[in-house]
Symmetry: C2
Subunit: 517 residues, 2 copies
Amino acid sequence: MEQQHSMYNRRDRAAKPGSAVRAGHTGDAQPPFQAPLATSNALAAELRIRIARGDWIEGEKLPSVRRLSEETGLHRLTVYKAYNLLKDEGLIESREKSGYFLTVSRRPVESGFGSVFKFRPASGGGQEPAEAGPPLPALLGELHSVDCRYQFSQALIDPLLLPNSYLAEEAKRVFDLYPRVLGTYAPLQGDEDLLAALRRYLAETCSFVPEGQELLVTNGAQEAIHLVCEALVRPGDAVLIEQPSYSVAIEIFKHRSARLVPVGIHPEGYDLEELEALMRRYRPVLFYLNPTFHNPTGRCVPAEQRKQLADLAEKYGCILVEDDAFRDIYFGTPPPPPIYGYDTAGNTIYVRSFSKYIFPGLRIGCMAARADIMRRLLTAKARSSGGTPLLNQKVFVHHFQSERSRRHLHKLRIALQLRKEAMETALEGSGWNWHSPSGGLSLWVELPEGVDPARLLADALNGGQGGETASFVPGSFFDPSGRLDRHIRLSYSLLNERRIAEGVALLREYAQRQSDR
Amino acid sequence: MEQQHSMYNRRDRAAKPGSAVRAGHTGDAQPPFQAPLATSNALAAELRIRIARGDWIEGEKLPSVRRLSEETGLHRLTVYKAYNLLKDEGLIESREKSGYFLTVSRRPVESGFGSVFKFRPASGGGQEPAEAGPPLPALLGELHSVDCRYQFSQALIDPLLLPNSYLAEEAKRVFDLYPRVLGTYAPLQGDEDLLAALRRYLAETCSFVPEGQELLVTNGAQEAIHLVCEALVRPGDAVLIEQPSYSVAIEIFKHRSARLVPVGIHPEGYDLEELEALMRRYRPVLFYLNPTFHNPTGRCVPAEQRKQLADLAEKYGCILVEDDAFRDIYFGTPPPPPIYGYDTAGNTIYVRSFSKYIFPGLRIGCMAARADIMRRLLTAKARSSGGTPLLNQKVFVHHFQSERSRRHLHKLRIALQLRKEAMETALEGSGWNWHSPSGGLSLWVELPEGVDPARLLADALNGGQGGETASFVPGSFFDPSGRLDRHIRLSYSLLNERRIAEGVALLREYAQRQSDR
């Protein structure tokens, strides 16, 4: 499947008479807003907004071509063309003689924390699932919140690997150092001390130093991606995104009514020829990428491609949004420097989370961008949340710049490598396939033929006949086109080696039962 | 000026031949998306998005009617109609024989904290200002960040009024109680302890208790307003908003390409007949209001109107977004309960900030809404920022539910009332007019004829010939139509009585000099 770099895979959608016409539309689709506004494009743009804003619920029938034509005063062919544009994007589906319907998405939001909605397995979990497959939690947050014995779904550091009491004592000192920290708003750009510490850190570990106004403290990487979307993406804009990719990012861009164009990521990086063809064809406003220990695959784009990526970005005026959440979690040698450092033309936005491994409870992240882009990001932040809370910044920086935090990170890498190896050992001989990652928190595993991830998840969550429960994330959650395939993400960061071995054995047992049926 | 409840005041725009035609368009403008999509409406909707997304900079010329007609294939009259819709909304302006231009807005963002952009007064601050008036800071955050002796611009509690060292000691205990607070993500809806404490507080002080899933912890009220906008407002939707109103809210709704319809707020509340007429005419999706010690006017909508507002909301399917940031800052008797409690039909969203007076450095707020609306708000929160950081919630709740916090709040009210009275005393005999508010942090003052707020601000920020500096917020910052008028906001919360007296005397002196010129 890694060889598929096409637009949304259309194989899942029923082939219909007229699909050649649709393909034709896709073929000469104009980059929206840059090309002259065709009326069908304008109508499609408006419909995208109405869909994003929830005018119709998933599966609901849209107005007929005839009715919409009457309502808008547009020619029926124009309406038909607009609907087919949306159909090609996977937003709507047509059913023969019934009309157009809003697509039912199977790809949920990864919220990165427990959701308020408790997952309730379908009644009779042990029974033969219906043909459409067993129900999955509608949000990744729901999945994470399921109470189960072996949690492989959350790519989060085991709290037991953090020096909690030490950190707590250290945090207390912040109140002595800054007695008014609770009574003060933080500057929009970030606390001065933290900005200075981040600059030192980036210079040492990432080979670049942002200028005074090129750095911004955010509420985690999630806010950073949101700000990028608010500041740079207009409804209908083409956005390149890896397939698979971080599910929160997919959701943010989709909500903005962006046209997502998937880009494959392989063990050796991207297919740059194909990437250039996509940039030439779709003129994307940005490419959201996670080139270093990519989530969920763990892949790392080699150094030689990084400069080429920066060149491509310049050539096509496409901003690279480089999400670098896992840089510090490497096994063996450190990864190549970020693309941001190779990019002398300033077409990269660097997005950095630290909450994966330092203080998840603080949600501190940062982003770097050249001054004119940063101005737009700052305006978006002023509008959306304002300055990141000062307390969080002070507690973070106090630990972040300490010698102790470096020693801790070193130990953390070793602990995670051991857990990764434990998981790989437990998977040996299973017939499940994966590339061993050299960093990150998860394995991206391909299940063998005959094992359906959704069915396996339902069995694992329900615990079969009185058995133990386990969780993982089906690959569809990371797919911008929402397809189900045979990949799953197994995170090894939350459980210790013994429990990893037990949990993987349990999953193998459920998979074996499924193959035997 | 309080009697003006019309759409954007058009007096500031040059009267042109053809304005009768434009007025006609406004008169029969359809509520967008609900009425049949007329092509000019569809084009206007798309243009609104392009404007919001920054396709043109302020003052830039838009494509000519002829060119846009050719590009879109739409009739020139359709394009002309679309442009005139936008012109009536104040988004664009026409200049005779020159075409259409993006309106230059004079109303900046209130960011509530210092901006990274340092305000630099125009060179030669003491010279006679140009006819267009002296330059103002482009963002309210810039204004707040100007270092001046008498700061009346920020409606923030003086940090010296907070029991900082007590709070710091109390906060430290949080780490003993919850040793893993730094290593844990918070649930999306909020920390259980904090949700329970908020329910108790709302029951005691607001006469309502949200059900289990009807309450959400947010990163201050600002995030709450943003979530409302994300979840409920579609580009082109009509939104009622008080004139004047909280500038961050204005900016958030404008960025969403909402059509803002101003509603006057008077000492005795709203003109309900007029409000109903606006609801009937524009079918607004929501009314953002601040009925209790309204920012910036300090007005309080009487109890008898609150039930009527809930009835109107139900009758017209208009959601009331009730921002209640100043409830606890009353002088004398407590204000009437929130509209939320009167609204048995569930058409109100309650937005509550505490960061104005407890822990501004934590930015904790909350919002309540009926379950189906809350589900949409939760989805928006999962997408934008995720759960509010756990540390902030734990530190907040620990103090919030203490007896000490109640005692502190009681003392804070007295201190603020004394400061308000000091400011009123200092203003006596000035010829400046205001209604004495019974709560809140600011006076809304009308300057006498002959004193221009922008000029006064420039003089005050620059300190005249070697004089002292002072700051306040001109009324235009709070006006959804961006007009300048003779009102200013003077906040009495940041300085003590002596400094208030000195600073107001200084402002009076600068105003007097202006009148004398």
